[in-house]
Structures are given as C-alpha cells and as structure tokens.
Amino acid sequence: MNLHVLLVEDNPGDADLAREWLDESPAAVVDMCVSQTLADATEQLKRSMFDAVLLDLDLPDSRGVDTLRRVRAAAQDVPVVVVSGAARTDLRDELRAEGAAEVLSKEEANSWLFSRCVLYVVERNRAEARHAEIAALLETTPDAILVVGTDKTVRYVNQAAVDLFGVERCALLGETMAFSVKDRTTTEVGVPRRDGERVCEMRVVPMTWKSEPASLASLRDVTEARKATELRRRANELEAENHRMHEINRLKSEFLANMSHELRTPLNAVIGFSQLLHSGKVAPDAPEYREFLGDILSSGRHLLRLINDILDLAKVEAGRMEFHPEELDLRDAIREVVMILRSSETERRVRVRTELSDEVPRVYVDAVRLTQVLYNFLSNALKFAAREGQVIVRSLPEGPDAFRIEVEDDGDGIDPKDLGRLFTEFQQIGAGRSRRRQGTGLGLAFTKRIVEAQGGHVGVRPNPDRGCTFFAVFPRRVESSVLEVL
C-alpha cells in the first residue's frame, strides 16, 4: 500500500522515530510530510490529500484536545491517529469522541504496532468511504430496490422502496413479498398504498445476498407516466372524434349542396319551359310546343326518380329499410334482371353474357334488394360498355358462407383517382360526351348501403385490358341479427 502521511510533531527526535518505524513496515511504502506547528499542518492539509494524519497534541501554537478539533476541522475526511505522551483512559475517550481514529501513547508504541495502527486506520477509512458511496447510490436512486430471499422475505430495501410502499423500513424488512418473481423480464405490478395504488414496472434478477441465493427486484413507479399516456390517448381520441364530427358535417353540407344542385337542374327545365308556354311566348300550334312539353315531362320524371332515390337512401341511412330474406335460386334471379335490361338496351348493341356458378344455386336473401343491386350494376355497365361491346354477369362462391355477383364491362374504364368517390352520393363519373345524365348519381351510393346493411360489401376493380368490374359480396344467408339491428 502506498501511503501519504502527514506527521504533526514539534519534537524532531520523535519525528525521526516515527519515520523510522513506518519505513520499517513491510506492508506499506510511506511518503511522509512533517509539520512542526498546527498552522503549518492546516496549511498542508489544505494543499494536498493525505491518507492519514499522525498528530502530537502539544504543539507550539496549540495544545491538548483543541489541536485535534482544529485538525479535524481542517480535513474532515482524513483519519487522525493521535500520538500523545501519556494517554489516560479518560483522555482517550474524549479524543475518540472528538473523532480520533486511534490513540497511541508514545510509551507503548513500537514499530510494529505503530505501522499496523496507521495501516488499519487508512484501510478502514477507505472502506468506509466506499461504503458511503454505495449507500449514497442505493439510497438516492429513484428506483425502489428490494432484496428478497428464497423464502420470499424482504432482506433489504432502499429509501425509494420505503417511499414507494409508504411504510417504515423496519416494517418492510422481514415482510413476505407478494410479487411473483420472474427473472429479468419487465412486468407491471400494482403496489397498494394508503393514497391509492401505484403502478410500477418491475424487473427481478438473481443475486447472492450474504452468501445465499436471493433475488433483487427493482421497481420503477410509472403511475404518473401511465396517467400522462392515458390522458394523451384520451386527448387523441377526442381529437379524432372531433375530426370525425367535422368530417360528417362537411359531408352532410356537401350532400345538401349536391342535392340542391341536382334538384334545381331538372327544375330549371320544368319551370323554364312551363313559364315559356304559360306566358304565350310559344304558340300552341308551334312544333316546339309539344317538344317543350316533352322536356317538362322527362325532367319531371327525372325529379321523381331523384326524390325516390333520396328517400331510399335516407331510409337505409336511418336503418329503416326493411329486408325480407327468402330462399331463392340465384341463377334465376340474375337471368331475370339480365333479360329485362337486355331488351331495353338495343340502340348500342351491347351483348350481355352470363357465367353463373353451380356452386351457389340457392341463397337466402331479400330478392328485391338483390335485384336492385344487380340492376344498378348492370344498367351502369350497359351505359359505359363499348358500342357493340360486351358485358359479363357472374355469380361466384366466396368461401362457404358468402357469394359474389360481378358485372364486367369493356368500356373506357375509370380513372384510378375517381375510384374512391365512385360509391359516394351525386358523384357521376364519366369522360366527356360519353356521360349520360339519366342517372341520379345516387345509384352506387345506394347499392353500397343496402349491401352493407345486409352484412356484405361492394367494390370495383379495373380490368387488365379494358373497362372495369363491379362486384357485391353477400352472405349466403342474410342473418336475422343483421335485420334486428336495422
């Protein structure tokens, strides 16, 4: 051991002797400074770090116990060995009380005792300093630390553990720990406390405590963090809800604006032409007279169709549309719709072909609603199919519990950017002049809603070559529970 020692001694003979004794020690290499006065000693202590002070109490500038007090005041962390002429027992006690690490009398001292004593004092001081460091770490860490023996009794707790559990340290020690001990994985545990449960993250690792196997549990109080997370989650939820309400409001306004536009458009023709005829600007025998009457009539019919569609839509929206499922032959139902529409579409010579799977012969659905969906898809397909083109109507199984109806056309197809709003109210899509304003712009929106109301879904996909395919997936058996909701 290397020792840096300050010898405070005004008698040069005694100083030489002390140096001699220490130099003889086999266990230590001693580097010694000597002060002959207290003033010089305190000055030295300020300047450098010593492992120990060897102190003669009677100096030219200080005497007795007071000398010890003043040295201790100058360097609290340095152990002081008092080397006194005659050390009475009561003086020894007093010196110990004042913080002397050891008291040696000059009479009884010899080389071996002297060096042993100095070494011991220094080692003890170093050990105490290390202990103080470790204790400071353990007692100031914000994580609660507990050592639990194999019998589950608590052997050690730090200050954070005392604070966390809210009971005295002695009440915790010896207590049985209620947590299940799991190695290394982080688990969340609730720690009951008078002011409410604390939520903690706990990690447990194996250790050796006083030569026996034990577990070290460290608990981090995450109650506030969890509360903050929960608050943030709630805030996000509210914000999303708020956003959703705004969006619903926006869609409602948009729907209203669109509806106003769609109703005013045919009304413009109805009122405008009526006013013309009524004011006598067109003579009853003029050829325009009958033509304008026809315009009024067809615009009026368009209005009626719009109003019916809007009412239907409102009914599904309000959950008041009734469904009457019945067992029917899917292929017959499809053929019937195809037959009706095929005969109405003769002008553009579009061919309608059917590919009906034998795997879905009979289904249990509302025949009227099924027909409506197919009618919508097929009339759209006929509108947008190429002149003298082809439309294919398919029925397919979709797993064991559902089936799919598809209508494929070979028209111009749909711009991918329009796919999203296809099933939205009043969105009529079609390029330039090929668009026909016979529709109300509500057909697909309505189709989507009645299919979804029966527990199915709709969609559209572009064909690899030309046109696109609309599809609707229905449950083979429309469940009564779905109907109850409605």
């Binding site: 604006a257 413009n268 023709a269 405008g272 006013q275 013309l276 315009d295 002049r433 668009r435």
Partner: protein, 131 residues
Amino acid sequence: MSTPYILVVDDNPANLKLVAYLLKLGGYDVGGATDARETKRMIAARRPDLLLLDLQLPDADGLELARQLKSDPATEDIVVVAVTARAMKGDRNRALAAGCDGYVSKPIDTNTFLDVVGEFLDCVSPRQEMR
C-alpha cells in the same frame, strides 16, 4: 353593329335548349356547348360577346374554366356569367371570385332572363340595335 353572339354552356340538354331558345327569341346569335373542351373550341372559332356558363361540367369545373378564360389575354374581356344550379350560400361569391362578371341561379326566370342578359351586354359593348 352586328348581332351579339352568345355562347351557352350547359351539359344538361333540356337546360341548354331552354336558354338557347330564349336567346333566339331575343334575337341573338346563339351557340351551345356541353363541356369545357367544346367551349374552348367554340370560343376559338368565334369569339362570343357573352358566355353563359354552367359551373358543373362533365370534364371540368366551371369555375376553373372561368379562371382560365379570365387569365388568358385572348379571352379575358369576354363577359362571363355563371348560370348555375349551385345556389347555396357562398356560391355567388365563389363564382365572382373565380372571375365571373355575373351570377344567375337556376331555376332561371324566363320572364326576366333576357333583360338580365341585355344588362350584361350593355356593360361592355354599346347598346345593340336589335331588340
């Protein structure tokens, strides 16, 4: 002064027919278009004195078309009047903000429509002798 030429844009055939008929009754030269592309082509072929513009066209938004016409030096001084079924709060201001010189909501009043048209024509050209 030659007969003013009015171009009517509406994708609804009945409404196009109605306005065109009224304007012919008023003695104007009338052209008709049903979408933005056709409108531009017809303007290029013969510059109208007045453009009556529906705002919801199959191939473009009417407001966008108005903006384009008003920002092109070749067409900026054509009088553009929106004739539209968009009649919610704010629609008039949106039309005027897009550069339209006037706004008429549908359904139109056929008894006063020609007077309205006459006023817009007066704004830019000396009164025509016609009517």
